[in-house]
Symmetry: C2
Subunit: 341 residues, 2 copies
DNA sequence: TTGAAAGCGATACCAC
DNA sequence: GTGGTATCGCTTTCAA
């Protein structure tokens, strides 16, 4: 079935009607110089009358730039209902508006050998945002391919490889400090910690910060005060009971993500433990759910929207400026006090 | 800056290396007939060795199909954190995987005169999902443009114009019936109703169902038992007090969306009203938040994921089959019993 | 300042 | 079956 056959007004149609070469129309459409103001005016008027719209696909093909931002995320059927990512996407979308680019999403199945670079090639993506890298796989070659071929990209969050790349993350050390200082203020010295996914950048970083700071601040240092989660609700619900069951129970629990904190909350409620009266609870991220649970979750805010927007900003800048040095943008976290602590 | 200069393996490169015409390679890549098995084998092998990847953009240009699904939503900076839409998008994304299409998002600013058809033209979108139509504007011409030019599309939810188009919605009448029957079972006869946005399809439909059914079932019919919200949290928080302040207070509140129900919940808590002991509360949609609030919200589930997936299914079918009659898919709602009622 | 012609990477048609 | 050639709509030299 043929499509667009009648309605498609092309640059040539406009040129014919204006009695000029289509290359001239192209110059006008792209706001370039070397066209007399009078002619420019006339062409603009005609193109409006005819309802001309540039064909982005043709433009992409010739220019090798797609006027899109490609967001690549690891294969996960529930990606779009993980609010953590969505808040970032909100920022990415805002940046897209700013730069007048469309937004494309690609799920990457690394088990099938798909690579970031392949996607950029296949779709001529020139600005890419890479989300939630799985660090059990070595993506350094993939990263190198992107770089070598001049594809601008940013990673959220922090890239743990040694290459210098655009990346955006939150200051985890500062975030943990905010949480622990607040806990200390409230009189807690025995804090249980539910750690994040070990194959991420944030998980180990926050854990390390917790270890260092809780020691420095004179908190109890028992080994079993630290349990291993993976950022998910389920892991919080699973691991919290280990802390609750300790002979000497912690007076507060700090989860490295809100999802885990909410999972822990569920487990605590199941045992009839009252929050924050019996045990205080604090999370990390400030995802949407934190405000909805009861008691509302006290947490460390990651500026997720800003992070998404910044990721696009960095990529666009490195696209426009050959000499732009890839950089890591570290954004400030913030303590959000609600009811759980 | 030139891009892809070295790495780009094209169909011609493969052809040259195989010593055949590039049109032959194209046939092989598209799994078409008229190529001997032996040659096909050889070409496939070479193309793999060379790491050939089809250029989707070039393919789109010539074929006038983009291999994408374009989701168009009304301008809204917070679109991506409204879980109602995201659950649909989850379904759309799953359908994209199924049909091996990439996912594109476009925000439509009708105040700037942007149209659905323009977007499809500009990006050669051949499968479009239109979300959350604003029915204060007449989009019938736009719809007609899409249809005339053979762009396959679906609307979520229900299209209120008279044209026959693909659309997906939930059976609102049945949903309201489920809610009211459940309320009746629990002994309620005096139910306050917070209505949805009047310029949507769901808002008026649910309201009408509520009026008809509550009458039929012998519920109290006072005028002031119905207040006007707009589906948002804020409107629920704003309108609920009007019901709570009635001389003869309702024993249950039915909100036409979960967001409004949760807003109402907030208002009720502020007045020290206990749910469901003092007043029962039931929502509509079953968005993510419904499970997180306390008490967890009893609600009518819309199969949002299925609706998103179905929308793509319908559009793809009407693209592939000229004779496919545009249809309205009405999906079944479901009562989800939690704690609020 | 303007126009003619080449070409981006693919598909499709028509000879052979 | 296979290869040559036109074409999709646009940008970009390069002459005039």
């Amino acid at each position: 079935m043929k499509r667009f056959d009648k309605a498609s007004v092309t640059i040539k149609d406009v040129a014919k009607r204006a009695g000029v070469a289509h290359s001239t129309v192209s110059l006008v459409m792209n706001d370039r110089e070397h066209v007399s103001p009078k002619l420019r005016e006339r062409i603009l008027k005609i193109s409006n009358e005819m309802g001309y719209m540039p064909n982005m696909v043709a433009r992409s093909l010739i220019s090798k730039r797609s006027s899109t931002v490609g967001v690549v995320f690891p294969e996960n059927p529930h990606f779009f209902t993980i609010t953590y990512f969505l808040m970032m996407i909100e920022g990415i979308q805002n940046a897209c508006k700013k730069y007048d680019r469309a937004l494309m999403f690609f799920s990457l199945d690394q088990t099938k050998g798909e690579s970031y670079y392949q996607i950029s090639r296949k779709w001529l993506i020139d600005v890419m945002v890479i989300m939630n890298v799985d660090y059990t796989r070595d993506i350094s070659k993939d990263i190198e391919d992107l770089r070598k071929n001049g594809i601008a990209f940013s990673i959220v969050t922090k890239y743990v490889g040694k290459e210098k790349v655009n990346a955006v993350c939150v200051d985890n050390f500062e975030g943990v400090r905010l949480a622990l200082e607040y806990l200390a203020e409230r009189g807690h010295k025995r804090v249980g910690y539910i750690s994040g996914h070990p194959n991420s950048s944030d998980g180990p970083e926050r854990l390390q910060a917790f270890k260092a700071l809780s020691k420095k601040m004179g908190f109890d240092q028992d080994r079993d005060l630290i349990v291993q989660g993976d950022f998910t609700f389920e892991s919080g619900e699973r691991e919290a009971p280990k802390l609750l069951g300790l002979k000497k129970r912690p007076t507060a629990i700090f989860a490295a993500s809100d999802y885990m904190a909410i999972g822990a909350m569920r487990a605590m409620k199941a045992q009839g433990i009252s929050i924050p009266k019996d045990i205080a609870l604090i999370g990390f991220d400030n995802t949407l759910e934190a405000a909805y649970v009861e008691p509302a979750l006290t947490t460390i805010r990651q500026p997720l929207q800003e992070m998404g927007e910044k990721a696009v900003d960095l990529a666009v800048r490195s696209m426009n400026d050959e000499n732009f040095e890839p950089q890591l943008a570290v954004l400030k976290p913030e303590l959000i006090i609600r009811q759980s602590c």
